[in-house]
């Protein structure tokens, strides 16, 4: 239905709209053609006072809103939790929500009309075209990006809480939480027998039930202490003597939340769950705890209290869950990888302690070393083992000491494998005699790498330069580090080699398209965030640290400390580390995808990213390029 009458009206209406838009930034600066496109693409909507125009529980906003008349208020994210952020009022000429549209997600807080409001609307599907047509608008939209690096973290938080939401978990029915049939006995069962079956079936409580399945009482491990053990109760007496009669129960259809309330309210740890009158299971505080966020402290406690490798295996799973939930809470990659590394360290230490008891290591001073990402405190989720041993044999021959240490190291490597840290493919492990060396031997090894008799050998050995002590005689590792530091600072040829290595892989930035991705194969269209991303930073940081005598092994710390002595401006270093952490965050996210495998865990398809992440990714690669050009310049490569 296009006639001259329609066309002339559309042109006239667009002219009116344009006249309005031109009064406000960024439209006042907008290129004529883009502005005309915008004006001709708008609709005009009305929202009476009190209307919620955009809400977080909706999907991507259907349109970009430009206020023509009226007021729209948005409570900044976080302010509702007692933050001091004032609600933001938007007036004529202001648009919302540019970032939600850029990121193709719902808004983070509701936008509410606080006066009768008219808004121009640009349909969401035309938004990319506006970005395309107008550099001015693009610039305007990108100005959000500075704050968006931070925002992006919040976004991840939103995405994850919506899938792993505590609230969602807490609304599960108790029936769905029950994983095993209750361990029950009749009231006349002798106490001793009942306790034995508790022990055998590894449960925390015994339910005493009638022949009809009705719960008559409960006895928990906790009760046993004072009612049976300390009271020296006759173990042949019936259990009804010592049980808590008529325990509180909940129906199976009640929620986990109801159980949590009851536990908090009554201070009980075990709640029998009934289907009608029949008890069908027991829900414990522990079950509910598992639903909630697993705390660092709790995992740490579990690890240090663990007596067996089995217990550590389950703690390792908790670390994984914790990482997921922390990523969901928006914890930055720097802290997150540090926390993962710290917990993994604790786990390794406990493995060493448990296994150490099985071996005679008397008279040996040894220290467990971590290499590679573990050495850099940058462990992500799927990390192979990279470890070794350094020892001081004292009067003993190194070979004799090695012979004693290797069976121990082998047990540790196997235990770690069981805990979910796969054995190193390249056999860089403490159980390999090659990497179970005395201080003097390690020193010689580093000397030979640095003296550069075999360039390829050096390149295969870079991860050793990230070594650090995990457990044992840390002084040995410290001594090795200070020796190495001197050797490396003097080894100019060695530094040049490392520089060449650091420039081997280039940021996948395209000349025509934004990114260079795999052109074929099963990873077509993706980027390897480890090889073509994070590595660019870790390699350069290692070189700069070794060249300036920085002992720290963490990439960000290396950059900061080396940057200071190289007089690189703080701001520049900050941008570089931010970029590195963004890549790390993307890697973590990708590793936590349900379909993540060892092969694709570090891969990202830029086309699948939202606009913000794509831009930040591009910027991150630019930072890598900047870092590389500094290295190239310094070493004239």
């Amino acid at each position: 239905m296009s006639s001259p009458a329609n066309d002339s009206a559309a042109a006239a209406l667009a002219a009116t709209t344009l006249k309005f838009l031109r009064q406000y930034p960024p439209f006042e600066q907008m290129e004529e053609q883009a502005a005309q496109f915008l004006a001709a693409s708008l609709d005009l909507c009305y929202f009476p006072k009190g209307t919620v125009i955009l809400a977080p529980d909706q999907s991507t906003p259907p349109a970009l809103h430009i206020i023509q008349r009226g007021t729209v208020q948005v409570v900044p994210f976080g302010a509702e939790h007692g933050g001091d952020a004032e609600p933001l009022s938007l007036g004529p000429g202001e648009s919302f929500s540019v970032s939600a549209l850029l990121e193709q997600r719902a808004v983070m807080a509701p936008y509410t009309a606080t006066a009768d409001t008219f808004c121009y609307e640009l349909a969401a599907e035309k938004f990319p075209e506006l970005l395309n047509r107008s550099p001015v608008f693009r610039e305007f939209a990108t100005r959000y990006l500075a704050s968006m690096l931070r925002e992006s973290r919040r976004l991840i938080k939103l995405n994850f809480t919506s899938t792993t939401g505590e609230q969602q978990a807490m609304s599960r029915t108790l029936r769905s939480l029950i994983t095993r049939a209750p361990v029950t006995c009749p009231p006349e069962r002798p106490i001793g027998e009942a306790l034995r079956s508790m022990q055998e079936s590894k449960v925390g409580s015994m339910l005493i039930a009638g022949s009809d399945g009705r719960p008559l009482g409960i006895l928990t491990r906790h009760d046993v202490l004072d009612r049976v053990a300390l009271a020296q109760h006759d173990l042949t007496r019936p259990i009804s003597d010592v049980m808590t009669p008529d325990p509180l129960t909940l129906p199976a259809e009640d929620s986990a939340y109801d159980a949590a309330l009851l536990i908090a309210d009554r201070g009980i740890r075990h709640i029998p769950v009934c289907d009608g009158n029949r008890v069908i299971g027991v829900v414990t505080e522990r079950d509910l705890f598992a639903l909630q966020r697993i705390s660092v402290r709790a995992i740490n406690r579990t690890i240090s209290a663990a007596q067996t490798i089995d217990e550590l295996c389950s703690a390792a799973k908790d670390i994984h869950k914790l990482a997921r939930s922390m990523l969901g809470q928006g914890v930055a990659a720097e802290q997150l990888t540090l926390i993962i590394s710290t917990l993994n360290d604790a786990l390794v230490r406990q493995v060493l302690t448990i296994e150490g008891e099985e071996f005679d290591l008397d008279g040996l001073r040894w220290c467990w070393l971590a290499f590679g990402s573990e050495g850099r405190y940058e462990q992500t989720i799927s990390t192979d083992q990279d470890n070794g041993l350094i020892f001081d044999a004292g009067d003993e021959q190194p070979d004799a000491a090695r012979e004693r240490l290797i069976p121990f190291a082998l047990a540790v490597n196997r235990a770690l494998d069981r805990c979910g840290f796969p054995l190193c493919q390249g056999n860089i492990m403490g159980s390999n005699p090659q990497w179970c060396l005395s201080l003097a031997e390690w020193r010689r090894q580093f000397e030979s790498w640095i003296a550069n008799t075999n360039p390829q050998a050096l390149l295969n050995a870079v991860i050793f330069f990230d070594f650090r002590a995990v457990h044992g005689e840390e002084a040995l590792a410290r001594k090795l580090r200070s020796d190495l530091s001197q050797l490396a600072q003097d080894g100019k040829q060695f530094q040049r080699q490392l520089a060449g290595y650091a420039l081997e892989s280039r940021p996948p930035l395209g000349i025509i398209s934004d990114f260079v991705t795999e052109s074929d194969g099963k990873f077509r269209g993706t980027i390897d965030l480890k090889k073509n991303g994070a590595r660019l930073f870790t390699d350069a940081a290692r070189l700069l640290a070794l060249a300036t005598g920085v002992a720290h092994t963490n990439t960000a710390e290396r950059l900061r400390q080396a940057g200071a002595s190289l007089q690189i401006p703080d701001k520049e270093i900050e941008s570089i580390t931010e970029a590195f952490f963004f890549l790390q965050t993307l890697r973590l996210r990708s590793q936590m995808e349900p379909e993540a495998t060892a092969e694709n865990a570090n891969r990202v398809d830029p086309a699948q990213l939202n606009e913000v992440d794509r831009r930040i990714l591009k910027e991150s690669f630019r930072q890598a390029r900047k870092l590389q050009s500094r290295v190239a310049l310094d070493y004239q490569l």
Partner: protein, 235 residues
């Protein structure tokens, strides 16, 4: 052919394209009263004329915008200037700003009106004082086409006060007062299209209020309007 014309009254002569356009319009389904407001398309129209006498003055131009789902579709407006045998008096030109040349070089009235028919497509036509617009459009259509648009007409002059009670003693508010009350700016008063746009914004406000008050069909709106007419008559 003059005998034919005499036999059928002054039936206007339409060319083939015009005849086809009129037939197509007649084929369009009527909009029932029971149609829900959500999803209903309204045509908000305003006219400029040679004067204020609905019986003798002539229709100069029609401006209209479309309100669909409560949203003004700015990309689908309508404006036309009808070709006049001679320009209107200059005092009048000063009001609507359509100069003599434009008036005389406008669109053939039959074509202009058929385009408006096609544009409105039997959707309810809304205006402020739409009784006047209605008479002007129907008279012009009768002359040029021998028929009138089959739309329901709604008048915001009644609907607005039905939903937003003005002070009891006051005289009914005019369009400008209503626009002011809701902060609606009119970029070019007495331009049919600009007036239609401002009126459409008023319709948005009215529709939101009516819907909030429980109105759900076109019939609910016409009832509101009739009640207000009756109230004003007995006042």
């Amino acid at each position: 052919m003059s005998w034919l014309r005499r036999l059928f009254g002054h039936k206007p002569e339409l060319n083939a394209a015009q005849t086809a356009a009129l037939a197509a319009y007649r084929e369009l389904p009527e909009i029932a009263d029971t149609v829900p407001l959500a999803g209903l398309r309204f045509v908000v129209a305003d006219v400029e004329t040679t004067g204020l006498n609905p019986m003798s003055d002539k229709l100069i131009s029609i401006g209209a915008v479309m309100v669909e789902n409560g949203i003004i579709r700015l990309g689908s407006g309508f404006q036309t200037v009808l070709r006049q045998p001679r320009a209107s008096a200059s005092a009048n030109i000063l009001i609507h700003g359509i100069d003599g040349t434009t008036q005389c070089t406008g669109t053939d009235p039959a074509t202009a009106l058929l385009e408006f028919f096609a544009y409105s497509a039997k959707a309810p036509i809304v205006g402020f004082h739409s009784g006047f617009d209605r008479v002007m459009i129907e008279r012009a259509a009768n002359t040029a086409l021998g028929c009138t648009p089959s739309s329901t007409w709604l008048d915001l002059d009644y609907l607005a006060p039905a939903l937003f009670a003005p002070p009891k003693t006051a005289a009914p508010l005019g369009l400008d007062q209503w626009l002011q009350r809701f902060g609606i700016e009119n970029q070019a008063r007495h331009n049919a299209l600009a007036d239609a746009l401002a009126t459409a914004q008023l319709l948005q406000v009215v529709l939101a209020q009516a819907t909030a008050g429980g109105a759900s069909t076109l019939a609910d709106l016409t009832r509101l309007e009739q009640d207000q007419r009756w109230l004003r008559q007995i006042a």
